[in-house]
Symmetry: C2
Subunit: 244 residues, 2 copies
DNA sequence: TCCCGGGATTTTGCATACCAAAACCTGTAT
DNA sequence: ATACAGGTTTTGGTATGCAAAATCCCGGGA
């Protein structure tokens, strides 16, 4: 099989040509592409973990998951590996996947990093938001206020995520967006229990933040976001049931 | 096969018990564990990408890589997916993996995020560094100065990475470390061409940074790191061959 | 009773083989 | 040139087999 170390078959200097037609950058609606199975499995498992069907610490057996989801082991393995790289499961060599056990310390670290990234994000957003962006922000704010009035915890968390994520996208920094996306999704796992008590204050702070962004006041936006995320962090530590 | 949707076989409330013997936390030297093949493949491919054996934009065919590395397609697929999640390759659905084409814009975004994270990291490090940590920092600084004197570009980049990474670890924030690790490894890809000209100044700034950390002057450490990373960013834009 | 040890069992990690669908390439007819 | 048709390549997924490692279980000895 390995008679000689073949020198990586050449396929032309740049591989297949990058298709760069006259429509480059049009960002038109792509042809609908069926989601890869590994992605479906990833979403399904993430959902099961978030809603606690799969409990922290539980051992996830590839074959069981595969049977449960009606797929083969391969997409399950691939999904598990991605779940590991994003902190949802721990993959112990030769032992398999275990649902990650969140600790208070880790939550604090996550909230700390989130604070830094979101703060920087707010500054950038304030610098480059258009009138249309501001309009959209107020719409998202409205959704949140309605969820607050309805006392709907789940919708509250979702609305909060949407608002923060939109601000993140405003920065135009894809790397930053992606990173915050990763961190925020994990934060949300810990965040749910304090979403309701924190709600009233949080959404008032959101309003002030949007005003600062609308005014393109970068320093103020940065400061408000720093306070906002720091208070969320504090709220987490003072939640009922916090250790110490 | 899928006669009935089996309800995820129960394996006890918390899965397998966590083996917590009397040696917990000893951090003794683990039994040598042969690296998983997917990890070896990951490292090999990352190396090939970094040293430009695999050129940006090149199409990576699973079967070819597998044969070249003498393994089956499975570990190659898994490695490619991790490489994607860390930004080294782009996985186009139904087309496969292509070595990521770095753009100046992306490099700038990466350097921006890095600046934010490293700056925060410096502040935390200054707050909690021990005398032993300081000693180690000066050792790492020394390694860098020697590489500088020897005009060894590769060692210079490595030393720079080591120093920054050690500061990161000082924070005691594992989440932060991991994130910076991801960003820094990608930055290094872009950074290599400017390592040499930037060297002299950079290592002088490092010295000032270590002094600030040693004095536990958090504000000063933060400020120096902010300047340091911002200057690196500027150096990148003013490098020979930069587009505009 | 509790600890210890060895064999049976389970599970991972990887290899191999196979296949459908999608994307690509090519040559021909327009 | 452009468009189309057919052949080829490559992915994404399935199924299966197997060695090594980890776990579990059970029975014997202190």
């Amino acid at each position: 099989m390995t008679e000689s170390v073949s020198p990586l078959p050449e396929r032309g200097p740049t591989g297949r040509r990058t298709a760069k037609g006259s429509l480059a950058g049009k960002s038109g609606s792509r042809v609908e592409r069926p989601a890869p199975l590994r992605q479906v499995v990833y979403d399904a498992l993430a959902e099961l973990i978030i809603n606690r069907t799969l409990e922290p610490g539980q051992h996830l057996v590839e074959a069981d998951l595969a049977e449960y989801l009606g797929v083969s082991r391969q997409p399950v393995r691939e999904a598990l590996q991605r779940l590991q790289s994003e902190g949802w499961v721990d993959l112990r060599p030769a032992q398999g996947a275990f649902v990650h056990l969140p600790t208070d310390e880790e939550a604090d670290q996550l909230l700390g990093v989130r604070a830094v990234l979101e703060t920087h994000s707010a500054r950038l957003a304030a610098a480059c938001a258009t009138d249309e962006d501001i309009k959209r922000l107020w719409e998202l704010q409205d959704v949140g206020m309605k969820a607050l009035a309805a006392d709907d915890g789940e919708r509250l968390v979702a609305a909060n995520a949407d608002l923060h994520s939109y601000i993140t996208e405003l920065t135009g920094n894809a790397v930053l967006s992606e990173l915050i996306g990763l961190v925020d999704r994990r934060v949300r796992w810990y965040y749910t229990p304090i979403a309701r008590p924190r709600g009233r204050d949080a959404w008032q702070e959101h309003a002030a933040l949007i005003e600062a962004i609308a005014a393109h006041n970068v320093d103020k936006a940065e400061k408000i976001m720093a306070q906002h995320t720091e208070r969320t962090r504090r709220a987490f530590h003072e939640r009922p049931g916090a250790s110490e």
